[in-house]
Amino acid sequence: MTKLSTKHLLGIKDLGKEDIQLIFSTADNFKEVINRPIKKVPSLRDTTIANLFFENSTRTKISFELAEKRLSADVVNFSASGSSLKKGETLIDTVNNILAMKIDMVVMRHPSPGAALFLSRHINSKIINAGDGAHEHPTQALLDAFSIREKLGEVKGKKVVIVGDIMHSRVALSNIFCLQKLGAEVMVCGPTTLIPKYISSLGVKVEHNLRRALEWCDVANMLRIQLERQDINYFPSLREYTMLYGVSKKMLDSLKKEIIIMHPGPINRGVEITSDVADSKESIILNQVENGVAIRMAVLFLLAGRTDQ
């Protein structure tokens, strides 16, 4: 297989196993490129990409921008604050205006689920979803699975637990799809109030006891508590959450085996994981960030290179 089956990257749900493997093998090559003394290749020098961030982001935005620049694309950045959206312009008008300036690809983060899909139906350039509300965040899931593959050799057959705020997390949903397509077993772990009822219909295990979850898994992906998305209180206090669902070094050391700790960032040190866990040898958090650039280069390269327009 030499090309992706989709024209846009809206979610992991639309991708096949072969698509994911193609992205991984391409990312392997880009990982070599970004470790060279000169980290830039000219592949997308004729492509203009708009990064539309209607929601705050540090890592994802920088990572995409770096990936675009390392592929020699021209980049324009847009963030919701300080834009005409504040003056009452609709999403489609804003985007159409930007596209009138001849833009080939759009990377978009938006607080509404389905925003990327909506855009792909109405405009004529390639869309990459960089997070749409609590729906999907496909490049994060790809880089997470890529990091597991790098650390453990393969994803197939591995046991991965996703801990924390599953309900409000696009990372969780995309990760579940991605890991299952690659043949991993997935468990979610968190307080009952933060685990949606439908989740078992996705074929994942549910566990409410953190220790049992960690004993079971090879990899623990610790999610951030998204206080900004929680409209009501889902647990009594952060302190109580930390006591029940925070991972400490002491707990890791008391397990019978070594597991890998992942975190999509930004970390709330001392909430979902303690500082010594974040900086421990079990943690591959910074590898995830490095792999993020390689994965995004691969996605951009494969979508831009599709021959059918």
Partner: protein, 177 residues
């Protein structure tokens, strides 16, 4: 039409050895020279040259790398391309570089190779070695310095180099479609 054999096993072997001696004439003991094979199939030739050169020079550890040019190609939207690994574990700054590919056709791969190579430093000198030179098909002003065999072929024909490592035999075919 039936494929035509243009280089069989014995001639193939002699050609490789001749190319090695031509290289030694210019590069002596390779103390300041490196060989870079272009992915995918130039790498087989680079490795084969390496084996022969080490035998002839009785010297180990020549610097041999593999370079993938996919990200530097000018036609990456025109066909489906699969990138391969680049492995260059040395700096080519001020070195004499011998770029190696199996077939020289339009010259576009070599053009991309020259570009891609510059990410690893500024070489003192760059030469091109190819096993087969299809001299009538060039689109760019690129010529090889060391040539295994020159053939006259038209663009509709296909030249395929078989390697012991992948196809089980060393030989070169020409197909017409």
């Amino acid at each position: 039409m039936k494929p035509k054999l243009i280089l069989e096993k014995k001639a193939f072997e002699l050609t490789i050895i001749r190319l090695c001696y031509q290289l030694i004439e210019i590069h002596n003991d390779f103390s300041n020279s490196v060989i870079i094979g272009l992915q995918p199939r130039g790498v087989f030739l680079a490795k084969r040259l390496n084996v022969e050169l080490e035998r002839i020079l009785n010297k180990k550890h020549l610097e041999v790398g593999a370079l993938d040019v996919t990200f530097h190609r000018d036609d990456f939207r025109k066909k489906e391309l699969i990138p391969n690994a680049t492995q260059i574990d040395f700096i080519i700054e001020d070195k004499n570089v011998i770029l190696v590919d199996d077939v020289l056709f339009t010259g576009r791969t070599i053009r991309a190779g020259l570009d891609a190579m510059l990410a690893f430093g500024r070489p003192n000198d760059v030469e091109l070695l190819v096993l087969i030179d299809r001299r009538l098909s060039r689109n760019l002003p690129i010529q090889a310095k060391y040539i295994g065999k020159t053939i006259d072929s038209v663009a509709s024909e296909n030249v395929k180099v078989d390697w012991k490592e992948t196809e089980g035999h060393d030989r070169v075919w020409i197909y017409s479609s």
